[in-house]
């Protein structure tokens, strides 16, 4: 039986991953298989882990403000590896004004702080391929 596999990743140099862990647990409780890789991942590490784990979803979170650079980079690397179907979502401290550009770059949805984890679960269920 197929199971939705989600890579929860923290690109960049953020000092903690409390938020990412909360999301990881919520996704597990929704019945997903969550691959958790911890802090300070490079885009190349995230893309390669997504490939080796053959995930359906990559969920990234950034607090530091590096998202305009790092999110699109991860999208490109994942697509370059031939994983066209992977749903890529982002979260963290992200100003509203940055969101259109991120979506343009291939981030399917952006979740800002305070989003109920249930919304993320629902979004994944509705959009995963």
């Amino acid at each position: 039986m197929a199971k939705v596999r989600v890579l929860v990743a923290k690109p960049g140099l953020d000092g903690h991953d409390r938020g990412a862990k909360v999301v990881a647990r919520a996704l597990r409780d929704a019945g997903f298989e969550v691959i958790y890789t911890g802090l300070r991942q490079t885009p190349e590490q995230i893309a390669e882990a997504a490939l080796q784990e053959d995930v359906n979803v990559v969920a990234m979170s950034i607090l530091s403000g590096a998202h305009p650079h790092l999110f699109p980079k991860v999208v490109n690397l994942i697509r370059e590896k031939g994983m066209d179907d992977v749903l890529i979502i982002g979260g963290g401290v992200i100003p509203e004004t940055d969101i259109p550009a991120l979506k343009e770059a291939g981030i399917a949805e952006v979740f800002t702080p305070g989003t109920p984890t249930g919304d993320i679960v629902e979004f994944i269920k509705a959009n995963v391929k």
Binding site: M1, D29, G31, Y36, T42, Q45
Partner: protein, 312 residues
Amino acid sequence: MDIVEELLKGNRLALSRAITAIENEYDEAMDIMKKLYPHTGHAFVLGITGPPGAGKSTLTDKLARAYRAQGKTVGIIAIDPTSPFTGGAILGDRIRMNGLTTDEGVFIRSMGTRGSLGGLSHKTADAVKAMDAFGKDIIFVETVGVGQSEVDIVKAADTTMVVLIPGMGDDIQAIKAGILEIGDVFTINKADHDGADKLVREMNMMLDLDGLMTDWRPPIQKVIASQNEGITETIENIEKHFKYISENGILTKRRTERSKNEMLDVLHSNIGSYITKKLVESGKMDEYVEQIKARETDPYTVVSNVMKDMLK
């Protein structure tokens, strides 16, 4: 993408997709395995098991680096428990192995136990074969705990390393029967904590009492995985064991036994799912269940009749 052709060419995405097909029991998995099988049998398979948090992943990371330094390619299958309540899992072993992710000579795959343990050992064995056919020289299989389930999974391994840590108290008593049976090599990790020497003594005593029937005495090595200490010695122990089983015909025997189990596994699961499918499709399943519930018949009679009907 032709998964088999691409996998054999060294395409990592193809290997990844093959393992997904195995895990999800897609129909194509059987066909993939048929075609990969002739390309298997070259890898050395090392099982690593032990209680939660013993440092198995940290150790796997360090051992993998040491093998990489020897020029060998590495596959890692890291298995974590699936929640029986939600069916979800957090697979966190990669956290300790992030440095290996972008090394092209290493491929790491996390797997959840997903309920049926019998199914898991079969899937693990197939995932090992996919990595073997891909050309990995050494394949690590990390599983948590020391119980019957792990014993089954570990059957896919040539050499099994059991990782223990000081301060487990009475736990060691509880698990000793299991570990003495499956451990070819013992590692006492977190030797920077108090009690490592005591644990080594206890282990030695248990091995003495056990009066092992073979002339292989499992070595016990103190290790501090997080500081890369004791890794060289651990690799020497693994290699000594491999040499021992190779020279004594044990490896051949283990691999023969494994081939038999593989065949029986495939046989059981195929016959089982074939019959189940027939029963469901014909509507007989519900009929029988109702009759059993009403005590008009019993499961044993039903199964005898079904077998008579279908396996003529």
